[in-house]
């Protein structure tokens, strides 16, 4: 678990963090959402002590990080940044092996781990192991960055705008890879972004930052509720708050018993926003679930979910 307790920080005259308090439960993927200058990256960097708070505490697994040796602390936390920061003089495998080498792993263990990680992030080990970073595309480089962060199997992963520099298609591919890795490993992940779409695609919980303060924190649907804070409303097109809220809710959660023969079928993993758009598109007020003929979804259930 990561916990922020009354964290303050300032850069010169700028108040970067002001009394930030919230916790990220173990195994949760928490997205810190905010515009540039909101303090979101500064907050992330207090966890691995790249930034030392002026006041307040940051707890990792119940222990104040200020009491830990910074190098040992960082070797136990995965770290991924927007500009990737691969070491250009080392091969892909050499980059991934950075932390295992710092920890003194033997060669066989490091090599086995490197190959397993390349598989995990969706790169063929035989093809990519010996490549230089300069020969990789942006998406491939960030996959290597992710593998490097996961190398020593840290329980916590910090990701600072990891996909923001990638084109939309590549970004969706990496988001899918991250969701898969999170589901498979149960890591606690703190991910910073300015992109609400990305937050909705990834987050178990969302923390909204504005001007150094925590504006809201909770599940995506709760944060996007009728009481959504002004900074969050500014990130979306006016009038689309309810649609975004529906995009944060899985359609399966609003399903009712009973078949709906002949109704259009929703694919697995669809959200209520997908369901509503399908209804509008097909002129239907009932949908069935592909692969689950015993259940259906009605328009009324969507309306109830949209106005909690």
């Amino acid at each position: 678990m990561i916990a922020f307790e009354g964290v303050f920080h300032r850069f010169g005259a700028v108040q970067a963090l002001e009394d930030v308090t919230f916790a990220v439960p173990t195994g949760t993927l928490c997205v810190v959402l905010g515009e540039s200058g909101s303090g979101k990256s500064t907050l992330l960097r207090t966890v691995n002590r790249l930034v030392e708070p002026a006041a307040g505490r940051v707890l990792l697994g119940g222990k104040d990080v200020a009491g830990a040796d910074p190098q040992a602390l960082r070797r136990g936390i995965g770290y991924v940044i927007q500009s990737v920061g691969l070491f250009p003089h080392r091969s892909v495998a050499g980059n991934i092996a950075t932390v295992p080498r710092l920890l003194g792993w033997d060669r066989a263990r490091t090599e086995a781990r490197t190959d397993a990680l390349l598989e995990m992030v969706g790169l063929d080990p035989a093809t990519f192991r010996d490549r230089r970073p300069a020969t990789l595309s942006g998406g491939q480089a960030q996959r290597v960055g992710l593998a490097r962060a996961l190398a020593a199997d840290p329980p916590v992963l910090l990701m600072d705008e990891p996909f923001s520099a990638l084109d939309p298609g590549t970004r969706r591919g990496l988001q899918a890879a991250l969701r898969r890795i999170h589901a498979g490993t149960g890591k606690t992940i703190l991910l910073v972004t300015h992109d609400l779409e990305e937050a909705l695609a990834l987050a178990g919980r969302i923390a909204v930052m504005a001007q150094g303060r925590l504006a809201a924190e909770g599940t995506p649907a709760a944060v996007l509720g009728p009481g959504a804070p002004e900074p969050l409303r500014r990130m979306i097109r006016p009038g689309t708050l309810a649609l975004h809220r529906l995009a944060a809710l899985p359609a399966a959660g609003a399903a009712a018993e009973g078949p709906a023969p002949g109704a259009p079928a929703l694919p697995p993993g669809a959200t209520l926003a997908d369901a509503l758009l399908l209804m509008l598109d097909r002129g239907a007020d009932r949908l069935s679930f592909a692969g689950n003929p015993g259940r259906h979804l009605g328009m009324a259930a969507i309306l109830r979910a949209a106005a909690p």
């Binding site: 960082r74 770290y79 940044i81 500009s83 990737v84 070491f87 003089h89 300069a134």
Partner: protein, 244 residues
């Protein structure tokens, strides 16, 4: 790359052959300088002059590196940044002092021979190392530094494993400049009596023997150019994907 290396090796052989031939080429020197009574330099064996020239100039480069590189590293650390203008001014001043003047000033303290020459050369060659270290280390991508720190490298590990390897091309070009400067400048050591390829030049000047001057100048310049190109080969950028 391989072809350039082969050509350079052949040229080095030609240089050594010319050095061997110089005392045996009396006919050539007579033809070039018919008015000079004894145009062939026979006072010292050329290979002994070459050996002491290299020892002196490369020894000075090693000492200059041992001073200039740590100073450059210090000037790029968070705690040492304030020292940077001071270090730069001190090293620039040291290089600004002409080596002949440095030798003259050092003579009363260090006497004749190798010691004042070595001092003058070190003063002259330290600045390229400081400048190369500072600009090479400053050019390391900030993202690589952020990643290195964030992954848990100590400041020393970051320096050894990330910063210095990435600064390597710039450091090598600094080394190349220092070697070329030092090898070309070592000749002035002959003024203080340090045996080197400059000895025939000084002897020739003292005895109005332009043939000696030509022979000394020829081999000094050739040696400097040879080493310059050898180091250029070493510093050549690696092709993408090529291991260092």
């Amino acid at each position: 790359m391989r072809r350039r290396a082969t050509l350079l090796a052949l040229e080095a052989l030609a240089f050594l052959a010319a050095l061997w031939a110089a005392p045996r080429a009396g006919a050539l020197w007579h033809a070039l300088f018919p008015e000079v009574a004894r145009p062939t330099y026979l006072q010292d064996p050329w290979f002994a002059l070459l050996g002491s020239h290299l020892a002196l100039s490369l020894g000075a480069v090693a000492i200059a590196a041992a001073i200039g590189l740590p100073a450059g590293i210090l000037a790029t650390r968070p705690g040492g940044r304030r020292l940077r203008p001071v270090l730069d001014a001190a090293f620039s001043l040291a290089q600004g002092l002409p080596p002949v003047a440095a030798i003259a000033l050092a003579l009363p303290l260090l006497g004749f021979g190798t010691a004042p020459t070595l001092l003058a050369l070190v003063l002259y060659a330290a600045l390229p190392f400081l400048r190369a270290a500072v600009s090479g280390l400053e050019a390391v991508p900030p993202a690589a530094l952020d990643a290195a720190t964030g992954l848990g490298m100590s400041p020393w590990q970051r320096l050894w494993e990330v910063e210095l390897p990435l600064a390597r091309p710039v450091l090598l070009s600094g080394l190349r400049l220092a070697v070329t400067l030092s090898v070309a400048t070592t000749a002035v050591g002959a003024v203080a009596g340090a045996p080197c390829l400059g000895t025939p030049i000084v002897t020739g000047l003292a005895n109005a023997n332009p043939s000696y001057v030509l022979q000394g100048a020829l081999f000094t310049a050739w040696l400097a150019l040879l080493l310059d190109r050898a180091l250029a080969l070493l510093a050549a950028p690696l092709a993408p994907g090529e291991a260092p």
